[in-house]
């Protein structure tokens, strides 16, 4: 006689149904994710790597990665064959073949050329954002976690920082616009102050190294790389501060005590016995956080991004040394999220324009994945190296 014999099947059935329900929902999410990735890859991969397209072609479409976006010209030639090419190529072609028959000419803005401008712009925005957010974020976390007396006031600061994470991105965009773009007192190093906007300018004598011959002009930043980068930085700050605090808390108390007991000052203790061991955690989490804001459109559409630019940022910047850097930082840039928004929302989808739309999304997805992988790599690398 089996004392543990199954007596009722109803219980078993219920159990099975419950498990199946949860499993179903879980796999639904997986299906959604897979569908999105597969769809983007199927459409975008042939643009980046024409070898995978139906027609076949080169392994890597370097033009797509190295050319600036421009207008795409569509036309039908004398034999009734449809062509499409970027404006510059079209102009060249007409110059070389003045007799060519061009019919049904149609121009599609932003859809020709490549995405070099937005790629570089996003990379620069991420760089500025990362630098600013890390400096402010680490400083704030160190203060809150190591220096500040834990009490109601510090709890309130923490709460305020956490609330920052809940602010809609469009609000950050408007805040950035008001604070970083319109605020007229933000200084710019320039050789020629803007007569209309400059409130006052401090000239530097010729003999001063690095700065000689120019002005420190208080004329505001306008739509610029630095305004966009800083807006993104403010947005990612809550994530970075939380991550830093977690990393600092994870440092064993023994390190701090050992350091202090050897006669270290508080700052020496933090610098030599706390921060070095918290860095991996801080970096990993920060890269992940920055990856998220790199994809944001709303904060940069008011503060930094423009749809069309003739040159890459470093080619467009003028001046030398400090003035070149200042010019680079205070010039507007193209950015991937805004570029995708532009080509998706403002351009009708035709066979000719689809390549730019699909290709941009695919490359941007790759870019974000690359950042995320970097973060994972950092975590694994440091975890192996630093253990206690």
């Amino acid at each position: 006689m089996n004392p543990f014999k199954v007596t009722t099947n109803a219980r078993k059935k219920k159990d099975f149904l419950g498990a199946a329900f949860f499993a179903l929902l879980t796999y639904l999410i997986l299906a959604c994710a897979l569908f999105i990735f597969a769809n983007i890859t199927m459409k975008g991969l042939p643009v980046l790597m024409p070898v995978f397209s139906e027609k076949g072609g080169e392994v890597l479409n370097t033009d797509f990665l190295t050319r600036m976006p421009e207008t795409l010209v569509e036309y039908t030639d004398g034999k009734g064959v449809k062509h499409s090419m970027p404006t510059t190529d079209f102009t060249e072609y007409i110059k070389e073949n003045p007799d060519a028959i061009v019919e049904n000419k149609k121009a599609n803005a932003y859809s020709g050329g490549g995405i070099a401008g937005p790629l570089v712009g996003t990379a620069l925005l991420v760089l500025v954002c990362m630098v600013a957010a890390l400096i402010v974020g680490i400083a704030a976390a160190v203060y809150l976690n190591e220096y500040a007396k834990q009490g109601r006031f510090v709890s309130m600061i923490r709460l305020a920082i956490m609330n920052l994470a809940g602010v809609p991105s469009i609000v950050f965009g408007l805040f950035g616009f008001a604070f970083f773009c319109l605020f007229p007192l933000l200084p710019v190093f320039t050789t020629a102050p803007n007569a209309e906007r400059s409130i006052f300018a401090i000239p530097f004598a010729e003999w001063i190294p690095f700065f000689g011959g120019g002005f420190l002009s208080f004329q505001g930043w306008g739509n610029s790389l630095i305004a966009g980068g800083l807006t993104l930085a403010v947005m990612v700050l809550p994530v970075i501060i939380a991550a830093c605090e977690e990393s600092l808390k994870a440092i064993p108390k023994g390190f701090r005590e050992a350091s202090l007991a050897l006669g270290a000052t508080k700052w020496q203790c933090i610098r030599t016995a706390v921060l070095p061991y918290a860095t991996p955690g801080i970096l990993t989490a920060s890269v992940l956080g920055v990856t998220r804001v790199a994809g944001e459109t709303a904060p940069i559409m008011f503060t930094a991004a423009v749809a069309l630019k003739g040159k890459l940022p470093w080619d467009a910047a003028s001046g030398d040394g400090v003035y070149w850097i200042s010019d680079l930082l205070t010039d507007s840039v193209q950015a991937m999220p805004y570029h995708i928004y532009t080509v998706a929302a403002r351009i009708p989808r035709t066979d000719a324009t689809a390549a730019m739309q699909d290709g941009s999304v695919f490359v941007f997805m790759l870019m974000v994945m690359l950042f995320a992988s970097l973060s994972i790599y950092l975590r694994i690398h440091f975890r192996k190296k630093l253990k206690w």
Partner: protein
């Protein structure tokens, strides 16, 4: 009439007695010499001239004085000897140890509510005492060995480096000397640049001792230094303590009473935040004058 006038005076007296803030420090000193409350528990006191550390009627609180973890502790710790602090968990012996190098400063709400701790004659809680300078003279070895996840060399050189010493040959010399004094040199001299975390537990604790003595303190505080180690590693640390006492004044907190008998010259027995008895180790374990001490050291309680 008489009763109503006398009452406020009585309460005022009590207030000044327990609250050092209301009393000028030097008059308080004169009033308390010799220490009153535990005279009977301190039958064989260390003379002031021999004392490295004077603990004088000290009360200590972790919550701004609401409850005292230590109550009116008075005893002198002799220079160049090993003094053991024993007692059951929570009796305040580690707290007292951490008062001696002001590690309790790390707790925002901690406070010495009464009395004075004098090291080399100086009140260490006085306003013009820099805890950084104090800790250079009063080193500490912790219960859980805590080397930094750096190389062995960098661990020992840490204290000197934060004092701004960069000279390579000076550091080399100090590292070698400290490791030798910590009886670790022969075991690690070929791998000074490998991680300290690759060492065994006992070696790591000796490395921590080397790190502590590298900055040449006068006093070394040890907070249950062997509690995480096996008997063989413990024996090596105890040998080391015996050697180090020639150079340093050592105060050791221990749960292990046999250890106290093996390593210490003097023993202080604490119970519930009070010093019950303080005497030569042989007396404490052989012929204690307080019953509580006898009960504890003979294993009848605790």
């Amino acid at each position: 009439m008489v009763t109503t006038t006398s009452r406020p005076t009585a309460t005022a007296e009590i207030a000044t007695d327990t609250d050092p803030m209301n009393q000028p420090a030097d008059t308080a000193d004169k009033n308390r010499e010799p220490a009153r409350s535990h005279v009977s528990n301190n039958p064989n006191p260390v003379a002031k001239e021999e004392a490295m550390i004077e603990v004088d009627d000290v009360s200590f609180s972790y919550d701004m004085g609401k409850t005292n973890i230590l109550r009116n502790i008075s005893f002198n710790i002799p220079a160049g000897k090993v003094t053991a602090l024993i007692g059951p968990s929570g009796c305040g012996k580690s707290t007292l140890l951490r008062c001696l190098n002001r590690m309790n400063d790390l707790v925002d709400t901690s406070k010495v509510t009464n009395g004075q701790i004098r090291i080399m004659g100086q009140d260490i809680n006085a306003g013009d005492v820099d805890p950084i300078e104090l800790r250079k003279q009063v080193g500490m070895v912790f219960q859980k060995y805590n080397p930094f996840p750096k190389s062995i060399y960098d661990n020992v050189a840490y204290g000197l480096r934060i004092q701004g010493i960069k000279n390579k040959s000076k550091l080399d010399e100090a590292v070698e000397k400290s490791l030798q004094r910590a009886a670790l040199w022969s075991e690690v001299k070929d791998r000074l640049n490998s991680s300290a975390l690759g060492l065994s537990g006992g070696q790591q604790q000796r490395l921590c001792i080397a790190r502590t003595i590298a900055v040449s303190p006068r006093i070394v505080l040890m907070d249950e230094p062997c509690s995480a180690l096996d008997p063989i590693a413990t024996a090596r640390i105890e040998e080391l303590i015996a050697e180090l006492q020639e150079e340093f004044t050592i105060v050791i907190v221990t749960h292990n009473m046999q250890q106290a008998t093996r390593v210490s010259d003097r023993t202080a027995f604490f119970y519930l935040g009070e010093l019950i008895e303080y005497d030569d180790t042989t007396t404490i374990f052989g012929n204690p004058s307080v019953t509580q001490t006898e009960d504890y050291v003979s294993g009848r309680f605790g």
